[in-house]
């Protein structure tokens, strides 16, 4: 479903931020990406829908090469939902309008059809009663659930998440992870940057560990947690797991 082949990316021509990335995510797979701050996780996940361009290599979604200049990137993005750390809901639109905007603008759905779909999704994320609220009047957890619904409204083949719970108060993390877990169980192909190791252990099919722009580990959660191959992965695990036992 998603395939990287020998991808290299530099910021400002000198900062080598993604190094020889090759990986494949199969349809229906849930892949968690973790690694220290600045290791290139956000950059990696953003290259998939070309929010960040790459200088070398190929990135494919299905049978479309997304970093080919002849590819209409807007058509690719329709099929790839993206959930941001800071939600990025449109503050001037109601919850319902946030969700219907892209289906109406991009897929040319009628308002009625778009709203019907939006409400079904809001029910799924437990926020149907907030359809007329503005984002500023929702809690962080509610905003992130709306953002997920907004992405799903385009009926994407792939959902990408960049630290979807790191901007949330601890008591709201669970409600968002629950929605993501339901989504994973429904068979969605997902790539999730997160430090929620509980989610990785229970939901992920695979864990990628990124460090200094390199994929050091690409393995099952089981193997990653019990038997990491690299020192840096062991150190990283010690850091993120420590508070949970402390």
């Amino acid at each position: 479903m998603i395939r990287f082949s020998q991808v290299n990316k530099w910021y400002d021509r000198e900062h080598h931020v993604l190094k020889h990335i090759s990986l494949e995510v199969k349809a229906g797979e849930v892949v968690v990406v973790c690694g220290p701050s600045g290791s290139g996780k956000s950059t990696l996940i953003r290259t998939i829908n070309q929010l960040e361009p790459v200088e070398e290599g190929e990135i494919w979604i299905g049978d479309v090469q997304v970093n080919n200049p002849r590819t209409n990137i807007n058509r690719v993005r329709e099929n790839v939902g993206f959930v941001f750390q800071h939600f990025n809901l449109y503050p001037h639109l109601s919850v319902l309008e946030n969700i219907t905007l892209a289906p109406m603008q991009v897929k040319k759905l009628s308002r009625a059809a778009a709203e019907e779909r939006a409400i079904a999704l809001l029910i799924k994320v437990g926020l149907a009663h907030k359809k007329d609220a503005y984002p500023a009047n929702l809690s962080g957890g509610q905003q992130q659930r709306v953002a997920i619904a907004r992405g799903l409204a385009m009926e994407p083949k792939v959902m990408l998440f960049d630290e979807p719970t790191s901007a949330l108060d601890p008591e709201m993390i669970g409600e968002v992870l629950k929605v993501m877990q339901d989504l994973a169980e429904s068979g969605m192909t997902m790539m999730v940057v997160t430090h929620e190791m509980g989610f990785a252990r229970e939901v992920a099919d695979r864990v990628l560990f990124l460090d200094h722009g390199e994929i050091l580990e690409d393995t099952t959660p089981e193997a990653f947690f019990t038997n990491p191959q690299h020192d840096r992965a062991r150190q990283f695990l010690k850091q993120v797991l420590a508070p949970m036992h402390g």
């Binding site: 829908n49 929010l51 807007n74 058509r75 690719v76 993005r77 329709e78 790839v80 939902g81 993206f82 941001f84 800071h86 990025n88 809901l89 449109y90 503050p91 001037h92 905007l101 892209a102 603008q105 991009v106 503005y134 984002p135 500023a136 009047n137 953002a147 907004r150 992405g151 385009m154």
Partner: protein, 248 residues
């Protein structure tokens, strides 16, 4: 100073037709409003276009808009007016030039010159406000919209501009008020707008203070009215979480 205030002056006949002096003020106010509104329409449309250009990813659009702003902001308004009124018509193709200089009523040709001049001058200022508004939005807004497959025009139309315009209503209001003030340059090329009518009344009647007091009151009322109108607009389109940028 010994000055005999006489407010009845406005109801005295001017000696021209059946007019009283108050009629002059009404006519002048009409010109002032017509000038300011037409110039504002030009300024708002062109200024928004230029403001968007300044924020586009490509280099050329931003440079062209930047050069426009430099040019129109730095040349004094009066100089610009003389260029539009005395010089530009000479560059027109002959039939058009004759039409502008001879067939058109002098008031209309002056009106056209001032409208274009004031519209283009104010567009440069509107451009900078629109650019500031767009750049004040979090980068994630455009990114989230692109990520959903919206095209660049859709991102501007649906996501960036509705937010940018909301937060720049206060500075846009002061630009709007400035158009009314600046429209008085028209008096220098003989268009009988409010200021020109005031001066003429003062000269004809020697009631200089009354004339200028009335003009002041009219300008003041106009300003207050517009300000209240813009406040009302701001309130109507207000949404939670979008905070307007400071005025001026």
């Amino acid at each position: 100073m010994n000055y005999n205030w006489d407010w009845r002056v406005f109801f005295k006949p001017t000696g021209i037709g059946n007019e009283i002096y108050l009629d002059w003020f009404v006519t002048g106010l009409g010109w002032t409003i017509a000038l300011a509104l037409s110039a504002w329409v030009i300024a708002l449309l062109l200024g928004s276009l230029l403001g968007v250009m300044r924020t586009l990813p490509g280099r050329y659009a931003a440079r062209i808009a930047g050069a426009y702003v430099e040019l129109f902001r730095n040349v004094p308004l009066l100089v610009q007016l003389f260029v539009w009124y005395f010089i530009v018509p000479d560059w027109l193709p002959e039939p058009l030039e004759d039409w502008f200089k001879q067939d058109l009523h002098p008031a209309i040709s002056a009106f056209i010159s001032v409208t274009i001049c004031l519209g283009l001058f104010t567009a440069a200022r509107v451009c900078e406000q629109v650019r500031t508004g767009i750049q004040a939005l979090p980068r994630g807004q455009a990114m989230a919209a692109y990520a959903l497959g919206l095209s660049l025009p859709q991102v501007y139309r649906q996501v960036l501009l509705p937010q940018a315009f909301r937060i720049i209503i206060p500075p846009l209001t002061s630009e709007f008020l400035n158009v009314f003030k600046n429209s008085s340059v028209a008096s220098l090329i003989g268009l009988m707008e409010l200021l020109a009518q005031t001066k003429q009344t003062a000269e004809f009647t020697a009631n200089l203070f009354e004339a200028f007091t009335l003009a002041t009151l009219i300008y003041f009322t106009l300003n207050m009215g517009l300000m209240l109108f813009m406040r009302w607009v701001e309130k109507r389109v207000r949404v939670p979480g979008l905070i307007a940028l400071g005025g001026k």
